[in-house]
Amino acid sequence: MKNTNEMEIRFDSRSENEGFARVAVASFMTQLNPTVEEVADVKTAVSEAVTNAIIHGYENKVHKICIRCRISENVLTVEVSDSGKGIEDVQQAMQPMFTTMPEQDRSGMGFAFMEAFMDSVEVESEPGKGTRVKMKKTVGKGRELWTTQSL
């Protein structure tokens, strides 16, 4: 299939890597010629999913987080997975303001941000096994195709 591209990174679940993960995905998506806002949207969503893997999935212990990205035509797919503790009730976890860590100043807005900034968010999770968050976004759709017009 033409116009596809993939990349995969695996890194330690250290909070220092939150910034690295955002930048890695942001630079992978530049080939789609995204707007500044689209890049910011994806960075926010990646940051939320990676932070969740670190603090909820692995409860701040150091294990591996995997990010897989795929570009197909103008659609970016980002998958963030951990092999951590998993989520009992995914539907409940995804409700805005729901958090299992209120005493640690978590806002419970992580999934809400992922849903607001990406076109779709799917969560697969099994208690004791881990969590995979799969997000998609069509990039560059609002852009005028002025380059194809004669000047």
């Binding site: 910011a40 100043d105 978590r106």
Partner: protein
């Protein structure tokens, strides 16, 4: 954490990126300063900030909980378009004042 205390008002100069990694230390330091100086007003200065996720919202909400007990307030200043969007989406704008700069 860069900050300034004037009487009962704490201004926190936020870093370029406010994520979980940066938020942890900021929360600890801010709480110590708030406690020590009997802070009632907390101003978050976003001048240098171009990225914030829900961890930053947690930082704001947590400080609001503390100072609102003594009738205090939290403010945001110098927030760019993106930061305002994040704050509006999260609903945190219901508890905090956003200082609108004059635009010429």
């Amino acid at each position: 954490m860069k900050y300034q205390v004037q009487e009962n008002c704490l201004t926190i100069y936020l870093p370029r990126e406010v994520d979980h990694h940066n938020a942890e230390e900021m929360k600890r330091e801010a709480d110590a300063v708030i406690d020590r100086n009997h802070i009632k007003y907390v101003i978050f200065d976003f001048e240098k900030t171009d990225f914030m996720d829900s961890s930053g919202i947690g930082v704001i909400m947590g400080r609001y909980k503390t100072v609102s007990l003594i009738g205090g307030e939290v403010w945001a200043v110098h927030a760019n378009e993106r930061i305002r969007k994040i704050m509006t989406l999260s609903g945190v704008t219901k508890i905090m004042q956003i200082y609108e700069e004059e635009r010429i």
